[in-house]
């Protein structure tokens, strides 16, 4: 493309830049769940974090159910979705050499929630509401999460103390060495204790008030 002057070039840049910005991939938490048409219960909730183009998620934000991700600082992300009415449609089941139609018991779907800031799994909550009524509220820490990719904003998993298998025998100090350290430790402790005792005793001799009140004490 050839521009007649720099101004037209800048105009193109200014118009195009927001498109580029919006199209840049960002962190998303995709929440998958089942919905039981009979019991109207959401369950089997799991999530995976990916870095995807927001345009690939945007068109799916429709429906009268709302999924919310929030923590103590407030709402991080929300997305709309819908639950289909199984009585009004049929699902085709394709077999190996046949097929048929009917109504399934469960509906399963995945909702994308933009991660606009890091979230601690311990403090984050997933909630589903419908017409202002909370249908589900589940802590992120109770939700199986797979991190497939993250850039700037990630789910921060709780830190647990790692438990390692024992060291091989060759690098574990021998019992003789352990005993030696114990003996040396006891000797050191004894020396320090004696020193502390002598110091305290000396200090008491010089500073402690007389055990017997003076003759002119008002107590008499």
């Amino acid at each position: 493309m050839i521009f007649k002057n720099f101004i037209s070039f800048y105009i193109v840049i200014l118009i195009a830049t927001p498109l580029f910005v919006f199209a840049s991939p960002q962190d998303y938490l995709f929440v998958s769940f089942d919905y039981n048409h009979t019991t109207n219960v959401f369950n089997n909730i799991s999530a995976d974090q990916r870095v995807v183009d927001p345009l690939s998620v945007a068109g799916q934000d429709v429906g009268d159910y709302i999924m919310t991700l929030e923590d103590s600082q407030g709402i991080i992300s929300q997305a709309k979705f819908f639950i289909p009415d199984p009585t009004k449609v049929e699902t085709e089941s394709l077999g190996n050499d046949a097929g048929a139609y009917g109504s399934p018991e469960y509906y399963s779907t995945t909702i994308g929630l933009a991660l606009t800031r890091p979230v601690h799994a311990d403090g984050g909550t997933l909630a589903v509401s419908h017409n202002g009524q909370i249908l589900l509220s589940q802590k992120l820490s109770d939700t199986p999460i797979i991190i497939l990719k993250s850039s700037s904003n990630s789910i921060i998993m709780p830190i647990t103390e790692p438990i390692f298998p024992p060291y091989p025998a060759d690098v574990v100090p021998s019992q003789g060495k352990i005993l030696l350290w114990i003996v040396l430790g006891i000797i050191g402790l004894a020396v320090v204790s004696t020193g502390v005792y002598l110091f305290i005793r000396k200090s008491r001799n010089s500073q402690l008030p007389p055990a017997v009140p003076p003759e002119d004490s008002s107590l008499q």
Binding site: Y28, F30, S32, D34, N44, I45, S46, D48, R50, V51, V52, S56, V57, G59, Q60, V62, F82, P84, P86, K88, V89, E90, T91, E92, S93, L94, G95, N96, D97, A98, G99, A100, Y101, P104, E105, Y106, Y107, S108, T109, T110, G112, P144, I145, I146, I147, L148, K149, S150, S154, T160, P162, I163, F164, P165, P166, Y167, P168, D170, V171, V172
Partner: protein
Amino acid sequence: MKRNFITIGIGALVFIAFFMATPAMIRADECTADSIGNYFPRTSIESFVGIPAASITGKGINYSCNGGSLTYNFRLNIGDDGSYYKYKIYVALFKEGYPTTAHNRYLEQSDISYNSAGVIKSDQRTKVPLGIGDESTLITNPDYGNGAANPGLVVDYLGVARKGNAVFVVRASVVPNGNGMPPSLASKFNASNVSQEIKYLLSQAAKEPDRYSQTATPGPSVGRGGVSGATSCPQTSPYFPLNRVESIFGKKIGVANEFSKGSIEKLKKIIGAIDPNNSLFSDEPVVPGTLDWAACYIYFGSVSGQVSQDQIITSFTKMDSVENAHAMIAGLTTSQNAQATLLGQENIGDEGSLYKITGNYIGYEIIVRKGVMTFAVIYVNLNDKVKAEALLRMAAGDNQSSPTGQPSPSTSTKVTDLAPIIDSVSTSPTSAVLSAGKEFFHDQIGIVTFVDNNLILVIKGKNLKGATLKTDNIGLDGKSGIEFQGIRVSADRTMVAAQTTIKPTAKEGDTILTFTNSAGKSATAKIDILITGTQYLQRKFADNNNIRFFGDWPDYMPYQRVLNLEKSVKNGLQAINKNTYNKLGIMIQIYETNSWSNFQMAKYCPLSFMVVGCASPADRIIYIGEFTPPPGSNQTVEATVLHESAHKLHFYYEGSYIPVPSTANSFDKEWKSVLGNLKSCSYLPLLKDNSWSDRTKRPFRCGFDWSYGAYRVQDLVLPKFYEDVATLTETSRLNPARLNEIKASGDPRYIQKTNLLDKYDF
């Protein structure tokens, strides 16, 4: 004799050895504690769910051998009162004569009523498949009914797996006598941890490929039915001293058998005398210029028990020229018994190559050249690559063609005395795997999550004092994939052990481990970080937020089944990569076979027969089960992806696709007009099983691709053409040969229909 006989032609002998050894493998007279220890290492049992050994105040371990079954019974008493809390891990191995009898044993062991001593409360237990071996299951609270006698029995898990002729059992339980578990135990002995551990133990026990399978491809076999009974390798030892092999691999050698140019020629003479027409060596490829060769089959561990798969092969070949030696390095010859695939180059000796071997013998081979000599090490375990390289560095050393002396690794690596030298990198316990996290399968949800893989990394070598460790492994989250802490060095500075955490997000494949000693000198080694099939699929499709995998593919990559699935899914995605499909926002959910058939299929697809996929106009989802089509069927995953997607597009065109509202267009009308009057079709109406009236299904007739295409087209109230459109879409996009065949049939409807599919961009 030709050099490639070392790796390939030997397959024939291996078959002989295998069949000689097979009776010994399946006899029950080798019922020793040692043999079960090979499958369930004691260290793994003792570290069950990470309960520190220090918290165990008493433990009793006993073995029993009864009719071929072998149990390995741990009873670890935890708590203030040594007898108060009974924490029991029970593992057992049953060796049966045939897969069928092993299957019966599997059913017996996983039968709840068999395991229950009291009243069964079926509502208190679950039974889910584990995806291990040929069949497997995990039962929660199998003996819960016994709670009447032991009201404090709060947790009890039983895992059973069968692989070929072998059945493996792991059971873990805690009986706190009604007073509840101590917090130190309760935090670790929970459903999540115990299920994961049982699965891990069973998968490790059944891991070695087809150890017991009579139909399996055999590997080299030794032991009581061994090949030659020799315990040394006189010709190869000068290059690969056996004590050095033991040192580098950190294991005792059970048996070492040598084949050489001389011994094979003797064998050929013997066989020739018995059977002059024997074609045993007929497929042996010829490598010109081979002057001499020998190969040493080294088997680690005890050979008194089962036939061991823990083995390597070391070999050398002397060629008549550098050119011919180079030709060997550049391309291993293949035969019907084995195929070699070049994976990369090795910087050892004058030149070197790394090959993957498939076929009758499965493993890896590193072959290097030094002058006219070539040296090779074949190993099975991926983690042994560093060790194989250490052996080859020593063999190639600076010696030309003479097998005199054994140059030390320090000579060959050309470093100063103060520089660290890494001979080998391994794990402790040896059963630990360098994998990106440890997996946990949430069976009800059908997904796998991963936790940190904590293990001890053991580095052997020289000048290892004052160690610091780091790797170049950057994980999927941009952070370090591998972390080290608690680094300890042995007194003689030849071994370093580091507490190592491999994150679930760690990058798979080659990772450079850099070791720096107190002198500030560094050495590097390569380690291979493994991922399971589940991780592989998740990672491969991470950028596409419209595809998800459910269920577990627990084997480590490379895993052909998963590679096949990946290819099939990619083909399916390619077939629907069009604007018409893209605007529908279709989400594809792929389910592992067991997960699909046991749980998910019935949940999401409305019918009880074995379906491969389903789709509805009400949502974006396509549910698809991993499926290997039987002969004669084209219903692959890619075909199912396209078939169900075609339905979604058809729904959109008729205005019934709820996620993306649309107004009906003329597609259905045009299609109906092409169909014409079906009364003249003598194969209609379809029978109940959707076959033509002559009970066939696949022949194309009356303008339909196959019988299912005519499903519902004759409905009196509301005829539908969904299956006609979807089946013909599959054929027109994925099976051009059949498309040409049906177009050439003379029925103009086929051409008219495919034109319509093109017009509406199916």
